[in-house]
Amino acid sequence: MQASAGRPMPRVSDRGAARWIRLAWQLRVPICGALLTGVMVVAALGAPYLAPHDPLQQEITARLRPPAWMEGGSPTHLLGTDALGRDLLSRIVYGARVSLTAGVLAVVVSGIIGVGLGLLGGYFGGRADAVVNGAVSIMMAFPFMLLALTAIAVAGPSFRNIVIVLGVTTWPIYTRVVRAETLVIREREFVLAARALGGGAGRIMLRHILPNLASTLLVLGSLEVARMIILESFLSFLGLGVPPPTPSWGGMLGEGRIHMLSKWWIATFPGLAIFLATLGITFVGDGLRDLLDPRLKDSLLGREAAGQG
């Protein structure tokens, strides 16, 4: 396989700690990404243990409190409280659950649809391919956001509907990639051999073609999780996402917007959470691409060579 030659090989002269530090410095962006993503996953999983308060508990005497470091803030509410006196930090910690699960599940749904159609179109070609291609063209021409908003409005806002709608409206990106790759791979010797041995179409697609797309799909899927998190939060921002009182970052932004002119923190911190989460996941996706995509070996080795010169 060509990929095995693509690992950045440590120089022989490197020893022990120096080598690790150099490697860590080279991988600083993916490492930052992994840390940010890790924080988000930990927050989502451990929310009941990490959050200082119940995210739904309303404290009428402590409404619209500023963050602790500002005048009028208190250490009990580090990031302040919202209009109902709920602790912002606790709601942000719990909000990671909605964003993360909606993002990942939406990618799973759209990935299954998109990859399936891409394999069918690319492998069978002809009329099947024309139908798949037509469907992609139609979906690409749709003002996607309006499509998603309308579908949610018709179906009613709920966590399940958001995942389904995001999944059903964002699959073409996988189809385009998978179809193009399948067109090439289906002509390769190992596929022809499998066919000659009597392998059925389904078996060839799933056992012989799909594994060759795994790294591409892993990279694409991780970058798409970031995009889904932004889309989900925008839906929630408009009130068409996860219904209140469940804490979601987009929903908090939407609520905070009403008080934006005087109480800036309510809209600022949930948005910062969305930004850092998507940035972290994007860094991880970019890092995965650098590791898995052999084309990058040249630039990594190139940087090594430049460093030596």
Binding site: A141, T150, A153, V154, G239, M260, T268
Partner: protein, 305 residues
């Protein structure tokens, strides 16, 4: 060329037909307008009467053909709420959306092309890394949050620009900046990679050897070849730009078509929703078609494929 034009034209027509089918299915099959229009306490007979008046009791294929005929003759029905023709409501709002879209696109180009070119020229330097970081950060930035932060900084804290509305050119600044953030990362990366490729070519080296100045080199020789892919991508990203207007108009209460659409969606005002969806989708198809044709005109390799 004629064959290619005809083929693309036919494709575009089929896509438009598909769009009309999906819109119809989503709004007329998945949702039931009659249920929404009648008050809670209405009797079953009242609902049935309304269904007949709206033509909802007819078979689906007939209803689809009526719907399609309406689109072709410009009859999109009347708003459930104001009773005005939906098409007129949307067309009234279109200039505001166009103004915003053009401003956002212009701003994105004016920022992305110089920054991307400079990054390509000073490849590997801090400047290059800075613009790349800006592109990555821009892609991860939720635009609606960016818009809110711009309001907090420039309108609330610094009191430089208005919060929302569309009364003066100053009102356009923050929405245009927010909308530009949708295209900026893509255009900046594209300009950078195109310029790197072009600057490595023989004719640039020749020009440089002849003693052509840096400015002339970039503007007269390099950018001239970079703009074909840039135009292509702008055309293909037109849908993204329109998607961006939905976010931007909502955040800044910009009185455009997208804002109208979001309100109509919330109210389940189907005629208005379907008008906006159809008009926007069709315009995306037309822009993509024009982009393809322009590119084919400029680059014979495309149409001879």
């Amino acid at each position: 060329m004629t064959g290619y034009v005809l083929q693309r034209l036919l494709q575009a027509l089929l896509v438009c037909l598909g769009i009309s089918v999906i819109t119809f299915v989503m709004l007329h099959v998945a949702g039931d307008p009659a249920q929404l229009l009648v008050p809670m306490e209405a009797s079953r007979e009242d609902v049935e009467l309304l269904r007949r008046q709206l033509g909802l009791d007819r078979p689906l294929p007939v209803r689809y053909l009526i719907f399609l005929g309406g689109i072709l003759t410009g009859n999109f029905g009347r708003s459930f709420f104001s009773q005005d023709p939906a098409l007129g409501l949307v067309l009234d709002r279109l200039p505001a959306t166009l103004e915003l879209a053009l401003a956002g696109l212009g701003l994105a180009l004016v920022v992305a092309i110089p920054l991307g070119s400079l990054a390509a020229l000073k490849r590997g330097t801090l400047w290059d890394r800075g613009t790349t970081a800006l592109a990555v950060g821009g892609q991860a930035m939720p635009a609606f949050w960016l818009g809110l932060m711009l309001i907090i900084v420039f309108s609330v804290k610094l009191r430089l620009l208005p919060v929302s509305g569309r009364d003066s050119p100053a009102h356009l600044v923050l929405p245009a900046a927010t909308l530009a953030s949708f295209l900026l990362p893509v255009l900046m990366r594209l300009t950078r990679s195109q310029m790197i490729e072009i600057l490595g070519q023989d004719y640039i080296r020749t020009a440089r050897a002849k003693g052509v100045g840096m400015a002339a080199l970039i503007f007269r020789h390099a950018l001239r070849n970079a703009w074909i892919p840039i135009v292509t991508v702008v055309g293909l990203q037109f849908g993204r730009l329109l998607g961006g207007t939905i976010v931007t108009e909502t955040v800044f209460a910009w009185p455009g078509a997208a804002n109208l659409a979001v309100r109509a969606i919330r109210n389940l005002d189907y005629p208005v929703v379907q008008t906006v969806v159809i008009l926007l989708a069709f315009s995306i198809v037309v822009v993509n078609l024009l982009t393809d044709l322009v590119v084919a005109r400029l680059d014979p390799r495309v149409r001879l494929q």
